[in-house]
């Protein structure tokens, strides 16, 4: 089993603050973290390796200096990480990201399984997985909540609106995983420190690409941003007995015409 896991060093959207005067999000200085569902992909890759042998390699397209944090990702269960650092990363569309990841994966050589998270916490488009599968010319199994490998086939159970769908595809195949698939392990500090040597940083040129080429691939660009946060009343009652608290809240909601009392 030669597994490649795609990992994003995402903006930690839970930490984004809004400017109260413009209501726009403040995007400078937002901390980043390894994308949540990508950790599930890493955990699954580690378990598959334990069961079937083989290798686990990480590829990422990230901003400058982002390679330095990938020892955290390696420590969850990969052998090595290859991070394509570029100041355009995250600035272009999903087509550009898939294009770079595909080039990085091809440079790594043959593979059986490509894993990624079902979505990233910052972009949340769920596009890169299917785009990457198409570019690599392999089948895709998206939203897998269960995964197994038997006789050269990958079997995944997909969580869809109308049911759980079990699909099979021969390897190589791309699978996007949900956060219900497993509970990612927490590596120890020692494991994280040790993994430092396993992180390799590439530039676009190292995978045969240029900034001009990936800008050509990108076909949409953000041209406007508008804050949408609604002002909330934030009338929060604490340290009161439940019966008093709910009386106050019900009264307030009636005053604000959120609920309509019965005519007396």
């Amino acid at each position: 089993m030669r597994t490649v896991v795609c990992v994003k060093y995402s903006l930690d959207v839970g930490e984004i603050r809004t400017d109260p005067s413009t209501r726009k999000p403040i995007l400078e200085g937002v901390p980043r973290k390894i994308n949540d569902a990508d950790k599930n992909a890493l955990e699954e890759a580690a378990r598959l390796k334990q069961k079937h042998g083989g290798s686990v390699r990480i590829v990422s397209y990230g901003p400058l200096e982002s390679g330095a944090v990938f020892n955290q990702a390696v420590a969850i269960g990969a052998d090595e990480a290859y991070v394509v650092e570029d100041s355009l990363a995250g600035q272009l569309d999903t087509a550009a990201t898939a294009f770079v990841l595909a080039a990085a994966i091809r440079k790594l050589g043959e593979y059986d399984l490509v894993l990624c998270g079902e979505a990233t916490i910052d972009g949340f488009s769920s596009q890169v997985g299917p785009r990457l599968a198409e570019r690599l010319g392999i089948p895709q199994i998206c939203y897998a909540r269960k995964l197994s490998v038997e006789d050269g086939y990958v079997v995944g159970e997909r969580d869809l609106e109308d049911g759980y769908e079990t699909v099979r595809a021969p390897m190589p195949v791309l699978v996007s995983v949900t956060m219900e698939l497993n509970i990612p392990r927490m590596p120890t500090l020692l494991e994280v420190l040790r993994a430092k040597k396993q992180v390799h940083v590439w530039k676009l040129e190292d995978i045969g690409l240029s900034r001009e080429r990936i800008q050509e691939i990108s076909s949409i660009a953000p041209t406007g941003l508008q804050g949408t946060v609604m002002a909330r009343k934030e009338k929060i009652i604490k340290d009161k007995p439940a019966t008093d608290a709910v009386e106050m809240i019900v009264e307030k909601m009636i005053q604000d015409k959120v609920i309509t009392p019965r005519a007396r």
Partner: protein, 325 residues
């Protein structure tokens, strides 16, 4: 295939989910009228004559039918093969794909095949000026902002969430049916089984009041308490992702990865308020949050809140509401 029509085809709609297809046709009709062009729809698999007629009354000028039995089951690769051939022939300016989970995995694969851009969960779009430049809007960062994207080539592709728009019927409006043959191609993917989920017949997206259960609700039996609250308020009970996807108490969940509600009142119970979940309830007019943790992020987006044990607060709330409503 020779499928070009005289008027430019502005918009082509596709969804494997019929309800969503008809909702998207309403939006497509509106935009086609604004831009003096045609609204069209691609239908894969067999449909009845009545169903075909309904496409016209719901807003399609033209319907491309691909009536193969092999299209009865959704296979992302086969659907991608067939749709990409149709799109290359029809040359629409905008393609709207229903944002079901199947649609959300199909659209980016299709976009990659065609070498075009794609906006996920688009909320509105324009075809602007003489150049007919396509711009689309999308909610980003878990609901903190609305971003506009401009396409530098066409067609422009978007997925649109189910229930975002409403189906509109104009009786007697006719649709031109165009039967299409396309190469299905092959797929290495095979669907072995579909275990159906029990689905609520009531649409959560249309509910006026939603009682939103979170991880603070410990046992499945406790949902009875929430049902009782929903009944008093005339609403329905839904949940956050862990209760559905992990525990299987519900078939679907509220959040960016699930359903987005637009209720008059949303009462969250034991919901801590992850950014993903908040993205699903942010369009509610009023939010009442009940949780034991005073620092839970949910309180920062609530209009009303009670910090306390839900097993004390909810019964008290039911009593208080029963007295007044």
């Amino acid at each position: 295939m020779r499928l070009m029509s005289e008027q430019p085809i502005a918009i082509l709609v596709f969804s494997e989910d019929r309800d969503t297809m008809l909702e998207l046709l309403a939006k497509s009709r509106e935009k086609a009228d604004e831009t003096h062009s045609e609204s069209s729809v691609a239908v894969l698999g067999e449909i009845t004559e009545d169903e075909a007629r309904e496409l016209g009354s719901c807003g399609a000028d033209r319907a491309y039918l691909m009536e193969s039995q092999d299209l009865a089951v959704f296979n992302v690769e086969i659907y991608c093969n067939v749709l990409s051939q149709l799109i290359s022939e029809v040359k629409p300016e905008v393609i709207l794909v229903g944002g079901t989970r199947r649609g959300r995995e199909l659209a980016p694969r299709l976009a990659e095949r065609l070498g075009i851009g794609c906006v996920s969960e688009c909320v509105d779009f324009e075809i602007e000026g003489k150049e007919r430049v396509v711009k689309m809007q999308r909610i980003v960062y878990g609901g903190l902002a609305l971003t506009t994207y401009t396409f530098n080539r066409k067609p422009a592709l978007a997925t649109i969430s189910p229930s975002l728009f409403q189906k509109k019927t104009v009786k007697g409006r006719e649709v031109k049916i165009v039967k299409v043959q396309a190469k299905l191609g092959t797929s290495k993917l095979s669907v072995a089984e579909l275990r159906p989920k029990e689905r609520s017949s009531r649409k959560l997206e249309a509910a006026r009041v939603v009682v939103d259960a979170g991880r603070g609700v410990k046992k499945r039996e406790d949902l009875k308490l929430l049902e009782e609250l929903a009944e008093v308020l005339g609403g329905q009970v839904a949940c956050s992702r862990p209760l559905a996807a992990d525990k299987g108490w519900f078939s679907d969940w509220i959040g960016i990865s699930g359903k987005k509600i637009r209720s008059d009142l949303c009462v969250t119970i034991g919901v801590s308020g992850s950014i993903q979940h908040k993205g699903g309830i942010r369009d509610s007019k009023a939010i009442l949050a009940i949780d034991s943790n005073p620092d839970a992020p949910i309180f920062s987006m609530a209009d009303y809140g009670v910090v306390g044990d839900l097993y004390e607060v909810v019964p008290a709330l039911i009593q208080a509401l029963k007295k007044r409503l």
